[in-house]
């Protein structure tokens, strides 16, 4: 049984069909890349899975339950975390606070225990802090030490991406959805992050779905590649299979040179 099993997923915005009946699955501990040209419906696909938009039709079964019409926070609580294509941190919270706030759905302290500062609440706060530091430690010293208390907006672009991944990890997901994690990074940083995505799977036993434009990243990280075009899955398979698929080449990788007039 797959961790995430999607059948016949449809979503239209007015007259625009963003997703036209997509079947998709992710197994435990698997990394799947979703690729496709701009406007293919990749980000809409993520938005529907993470509950930001309800699907029009189709089933989304995660861990045995249909989560199709749950609220985003409920879906996160069940174990799907995501990052955004346009990095969306809480810019005025500090680095540490951004990760701490990610643990919200895994912690319990309520208003009363907060006001009375019960033993349990203090222990929980300590745990939250330790765990936030541990998660940030995954990226070495890039987000640690003096960075803890810096506001998120002061970070460089690559660090913002890293922090967003850290925040997603703080929700203790089983499935991580990464929307173009390497966009805007330089080649060295891209290589580093590609490696780290692999490590995430090893160390935390995560299943990961990545939307990516950088074919080198796709080739390096994915067990399986799914290609979307105009909201429809046009191919699926290993990188080598997909990259030689005729319709994929036509839709996405471009026609071979010489086939056009110029």
């Amino acid at each position: 049984m797959a961790l995430l099993e999607i059948t016949g997923l449809r979503k239209a915005f007015g007259g625009v069909l963003a997703l036209g009946g997509v079947d998709f699955h992710v197994n435990e501990n698997e990394i799947v890349s979703v690729i496709g040209p701009n406007g293919a419906g990749k980000t809409s696909f993520f938005n529907v899975i993470s509950g930001m938009f309800p699907p029009d039709e189709g089933q989304i079964v995660f861990d045995g339950d249909n989560i199709g019409h749950h609220a985003p926070n409920e879906i996160t609580r069940r174990g799907i975390a995501r990052t955004f294509q346009t990095v969306r941190l809480f810019p005025n919270l500090t680095v540490l606070e951004n990760v701490k706030v990610g643990q919200h759905c895994r912690t319990r302290a309520g208003m009363w225990s907060t006001i009375l500062r019960t033993k349990k609440q203090r222990a929980e706060e300590l745990m939250i802090e330790e765990k936030a530091k541990e998660i940030l430690g995954f990226f070495g010293t890039r987000l640690s030490g003096y960075r803890y208390d810096q506001p998120a907006f002061a970070l460089s672009y690559a660090n913002r991406r890293r922090l967003e991944i850290s925040r997603a990890l703080a929700t203790e997901p089983k499935l991580l959805l990464l929307d173009e994690p390497t966009a805007g990074m330089n080649p060295r940083e891209t290589g580093e992050l590609t490696e780290q995505i692999g490590q995430l799977r090893e160390a935390r036993g995560l299943a990961i779905v990545v939307i990516e434009h950088d074919m080198k990243v796709v080739q390096n990280v994915s067990d399986r590649v799914v290609v979307l075009d105009h909201g429809i899955k046009i191919a699926e398979g290993t990188y080598d299979e997909v990259s030689t698929n005729e319709s994929v080449i036509e839709a996405y990788l471009g026609r071979p040179a010489g086939s056009t007039d110029e």
Partner: protein
């Protein structure tokens, strides 16, 4: 812009401000309050405060962050003289108009008394010359002061502030003197003005002390700031402040304590609203509704006079019931508006506040709430050994108020730095993302609404116990707005800010119904509120004492640049401007 044009412009702005103050009758009204005997009145000090300020600014020159302004007393005095003269000439316009035409039908204050006030009772031709001359001289003084070396300048301004303060806040000083011994209040004339010799003594004394101890105060505050929160220095300071807060009401008289009760009432409501607006980012313009729930709830439950339902409970029992009622009211408002954001939320809550007031006034509920008659004979807070403490004993009531303020501070402080406070902050920053990372925004919003509602209900319960009667006109929109202004001016999301905001606005200028320390300002209170709000929005949008997050939010660009420069200088770190390539 050249310096000359800048000077001219400042002169114009100052003159228009002076003319405006004259035309709305401020000068006449404030001239009735003598600050320093025999001639310096509040009206003149405000009127000529303007040329002093523009003279100072003109001498400073066009603002330029890259260069230090030139300080030269002679040059400054000349620039100030010109600026002040321009302002004075413009300020003459309403005087001449009022003298030659009868405009009282359109502008009530354009009457002979205005001419007298502005011309120092000298009549038109001579008085106008005197007005322009005074304005020019004061302007020159402003420019001259700016040119002086720092020690002298700071000394003079501190001395002037002290003299002005001691004269202005005569009521407080007198109360303190009253305690220390009758003889000391000879510094004031029988008409509450400072004696000229006393003004000189205070001025010289303060000047001497401030020049002698220059830098020491700053040094000390730095030291306190850097000290560990658990250090002896910090602790003894906190202890000292606590002792002061406890002892001060005993030294002050009835009237000042009455005023303090009013201030603490607004601190309490400000802290409640701060949770809703400052921490959770939900703009609630109908906050007074919860205040009304607390006040009317307590009134009905404790007063023997409300006709339909008179359980005449003990105040503390009523408080517990009212807390439950406030929770329900918070849920009632919160639930339908939970999906709304920003402006829409503000409008709906504004409507809700009015609905509550109109319901209290309605015929339908008159048997319970007394309609326009309100509810009377509400007993005070019952305290062991002291019987009932109500508004007639403000010197005791203030301690009850302070206890509740302490409770509200405690709640806000703990909530702010916790899991719940973080979820509010996240929601304020980006609601969609907050939802996506697992925060139940519905629950978080309701929690904020309810916490705010309960604190407002505390304030309401205390209010009805203090006043003894409740009428619907204590709960109109203006109260909501003023609480919001207190929070904004003080600093959104900042506990200390709210406290300072309430002291400055409610304590000094006066609240929506009661006058503040400066009784003379009552009539112009809302005008000054507006002016303060505009000034704050332009110059210090984060408030008087900003919260860290809020000031980050408003100064992102600057700190981003600072950080970039920091990083560029840091070893082993690649400086990376945030570029979006995707």
């Amino acid at each position: 812009m050249t310096d000359r044009r800048y000077t001219r412009r400042l002169g114009w702005i100052g003159g228009v401000a002076m003319a405006f103050m004259a035309m709305i009758g401020m000068i006449e009204e404030f001239n009735e309050r003598l600050l320093v005997s025999p001639f310096l009145t509040l009206g003149y000090s405000l009127l000529f405060g303007i040329p002093l300020l523009v003279g100072w600014l003109a001498s400073k020159g066009v603002p330029n962050p890259l260069e230090d302004p030139i300080r030269d007393p002679r040059r400054g005095a000349i620039t100030g003289l010109v600026t002040g003269a321009i302002a004075g000439v413009i300020a003459c316009v309403p005087v001449i108009l009022a003298n030659s035409l009868n405009l009282t039908r359109f502008l009530l204050n354009m009457r002979p008394q205005l001419v007298d006030a502005m011309t120092f009772d000298l009549g038109v031709p001579l008085g106008i010359v005197a007005l322009v001359a005074t304005s020019a001289v004061v302007g020159a003084l402003g420019g001259f002061l700016f040119g002086l070396p720092e020690t002298v300048r700071k000394g003079i301004s501190t001395a002037a502030m002290w003299v002005f303060g001691v004269a202005l806040f005569e009521a407080v000083v007198n109360d303190l003197f009253d305690f220390m011994g009758r003889g000391l209040n000879v510094v004031y004339t029988p008409f509450d003005a400072l004696q000229p010799w006393a003004a000189v003594i205070i001025g010289v004394l303060v000047y001497w002390l401030s020049t002698k101890n220059r830098g020491r105060v700053k040094e000390f505050t730095e030291k306190v700031k850097e000290a560990d929160p658990r250090s002896r220095l910090r602790r003894s300071l906190i202890g000292l402040a606590a002792v002061l807060v406890i002892v001060l009401p005993m030294l002050l008289g009835l009237i000042i304590n009455e005023l303090l009760v009013n201030v603490t009432l607004f601190i309490l409501m400000g802290l409640g609203l701060n949770i809703v607006v400052g921490l959770a980012g939900l703009l609630d313009l109908g906050y007074v509704a919860f205040f009304a729930v607390g006040a009317y709830g307590t009134a009905v439950l404790t007063s023997p006079l409300s006709s339909a339902f008179t359980p005449t409970l003990n105040w503390w029992v009523a408080l517990a019931v009212v807390m439950v009622m406030a929770t329900l009211a918070g849920l009632l408002v919160g639930t339908p508006v939970i999906r709304m954001r920003g402006d829409y939320l503000a409008i709906v809550t504004l409507g809700f506040g009015e609905i509550v007031r109109l319901l209290l006034l309605s015929d339908w509920l008159t048997p319970l709430f007394g309609g326009a008659q309100g509810i009377r004979r509400i007993p005070g807070v019952s305290v062991p050994f002291l019987d009932q403490v109500g508004g007639t004993r403000p010197q005791l009531f203030i301690y009850i108020m302070m206890a509740f303020v302490a409770l509200a501070v405690w709640i806000s402080h703990r909530a702010q730095n916790s899991r719940i406070g973080r979820s509010w902050a996240a929601m304020r920053e980006d609601e969609d993302v907050a939802e996506a990372i697992g925060i139940g925004t519905v629950k978080a919003k309701l929690l904020a609404f309810i916490s705010g509602a309960i604190i407002a209900a505390f304030a309401g319960a205390l209010f009805s116990a203090k006043v003894g009667t409740v009428f619907t006109n204590s709960f109109d929109v203006l109260v909501s707005i003023i609480i919001l202004v207190v929070v904004i001016v003080g600093g959104m999301g900042s506990i200390r800010g709210v406290i300072v905001g309430a002291i400055v606005l409610i304590g000094v200028l006066g609240g929506p119904k009661l006058p503040g320390l400066l009784v003379e300002f009552t009539e112009y209170k809302l005008l000054i509120y507006g002016a303060i709000l505009i000034f704050m929005m332009l110059k210090r949008p984060e408030g008087l004492i900003p919260s860290v997050r809020r000031s980050r939010e408003l100064h992102q660009d600057e700190s981003q640049q600072d950080d970039w420069m920091d990083r560029a200088g840091r070893f082993g770190e690649e400086p990376q401007p945030a570029t979006v390539e995707a």
